[in-house]
Symmetry: C2
Subunit: 340 residues, 2 copies
């Protein structure tokens, strides 16, 4: 492999000149630049990443800590990862992938100076990774909203806003009896932040509008979805609007309602909180609040890079606004036409 000295020799300049041509950190005359670039191309020169990292203390690599279990929401996870990787590339960064359960991973890549920044997804209220990230020398960005972010930057969808938006939408259509089909039992218990916030938002808005709202857990399976639907219909038969925040159960919920002879949206309106492709790929496109996973991944990277380039930059939390798109599954309830 050609080194920077080979290039310098071939171009008849000093090594530093080659370095500066590459980094653009000082002005280079036209002819010199041309000769250097020529030599670089001729030799197929590529800077050695390790040497660069050693001399500059910059790796141009970001660590991404992702939940690589076979999860219910693989699609969302995938979208986050994609967003992060693509955004990183636009800043000329690559991504080192760590799994959630690689307990020593954060410390390893941080202390070993393998990366310049760390992004952690799927953050829970009291996430054990937070202290590790807080003491890392590299800036860290959390995707999700913990109870205490202790000076770390955070980015997430405004799930509270997503909750209020779904209730508001249905309320404005004239619904007064709503049900919410949420995360599995285990997620309620874990107090995974996003679910707590959606529920709070929806409850808050329902209270404010004096509308009834009953939320229940739902396992991520066909059986779980059918059970949840059955429970709702039997305990609250007057329900006319259903909010579903559970990607895996979503299609089965729709199927279960149809099987019971309920027509959507005539007998039951449905609004989902899910990735857009899931909402639009259904036979009947779902009214939904989109989880902008790609965008969130991108913002996470942008925040990390910003803090890298300006260490004075304080940590901040950014919540992306929830936007509800009405599609085919919501309408005024039969029993109560839209208020004027």
């Amino acid at each position: 492999m050609a080194t920077i000295d080979d290039v310098a020799k071939a171009a008849g300049v000093s090594t530093s000149t080659v370095s500066y041509v590459l980094s653009g950190k000082r002005p280079i005359s036209g002819p010199t630049r041309a000769r250097v670039e020529r030599a670089i191309r001729d030799l197929g020169y590529r800077p050695h990443a390790g040497a660069r990292a050693l001399a500059s203390s910059r790796t141009n690599v970001i660590a991404l800590v992702a939940p690589l279990r076979v999860a219910v929401n693989v699609n969302v996870i995938m979208e986050f990862v994609t967003g992060v990787v693509q955004a990183a590339r636009t800043h000329n960064y690559d991504v080192l992938l760590l799994t959630q359960d690689d307990a020593t991973g954060i410390d390893r890549v941080s202390s070993g100076s393998m990366v310049d920044a760390i992004i952690a997804m799927d953050i829970e209220e009291d996430d054990p990774r937070i202290p590790l990230l807080a003491q890392a020398r590299q800036p860290a960005v959390l995707i999700g909203l913990p109870r205490d972010s202790s000076g770390l930057s955070c980015v997430d969808l405004d799930f509270f806003g997503a909750g209020t938006a779904t209730v508001r939408h249905l309320a404005q259509l004239g619904h007064t009896s709503l049900a919410m089909l949420g995360a599995p039992e285990a997620v309620w218990k874990r107090h995974t932040s996003f679910w707590d916030r959606t529920l709070s938002g929806a409850t808050y808005e329902a209270n404010a509008r004096d509308i009834s709202l009953h939320a229940i857990a739902c396992e991520a399976s066909e059986v779980g979805a059918r059970t949840a639907v059955a429970t709702i219909l039997s305990t609250h038969p007057d329900t006319t609007g259903l909010i579903v925040h559970n990607e895996a159960a979503l299609p089965h919920v729709v199927a279960a309602l149809r099987d019971r002879g309920l027509s959507i949206p005539d007998d039951m309106s449905i609004v989902a909180i899910c990735p857009q492709h899931l909402a639009t790929s259904q036979p009947q496109p779902l009214s939904s609040v989109t989880i902008p996973a790609t965008a969130i991944g991108k913002v996470a990277v942008d925040m990390a890079i910003q803090r890298l380039n300006d260490p004075e930059q304080p940590a901040e939390t950014r919540l992306l606004a929830a936007e509800l798109t009405q599609r085919a599954t919501t309408a005024a309830p039969h029993s109560a036409p839209v208020a004027p």
Copy 2:
């Protein structure tokens, strides 16, 4: 951050001794080792990855080129990735994630010495990445089977064997009229290797047993699945066994058959080729050939590491045997009981 020299000073030894304690590449006396290890712990010392890479030409990082689009088979992709990351960790390697469409990625990480080996997944018959990988200085392993692997190591499920296994299973149950519901049109066109091989295997076995088999494409959507089922039932109404090699369509195929009043497996046997969790998470667990994604990822890493440690090691292709597990969706056809 503490350096190796800090540790050496604290332990009262030379830097090389510290290095050798860490690498184990030469014998160290008990007391010396103890003092060094003590110093390492006290100082919280971690070798600098870049410095190490520069001095040793080893990064302890593997590149993984993955299709991070919102694909139909995200679950499988995720499983591959998980398998690779976990296996890499057992060898003390980390994983750098590149996306399929990052055209310059392979060259960047290879020429820049960012990684020690490269694993590429979702390989097609004439994959444009193959020449890039073949000329890389690092060993490369392909997950998938290209037409010409030009000296690269490959690993994959034996899809030909998967095809024969599904037909054999149904034949042994007494079926004589089979249909195969495969990949979307686009995949047939692209000649994605796995699909071609499954089809060949199934066709081969059907011919050998003088059984009829009709394969058709199927789009990865509910509509696509229903259309495909309708086509099969109308053009080949005598079909009693269905082979489904299309994760996304799978649940909809089952639903479509049920909607038409066909009972499974009484009126129609179904055997799938899909990841295990998909087969077992259905309300009626599917007889299936499992795609052992995690295992394949692991094998890919093992092969890469092996070639790293022994450059003489020649490239090889490893096909993991297809194993069919009978679950609830296959039985003898009504019309023709099991042969004795």
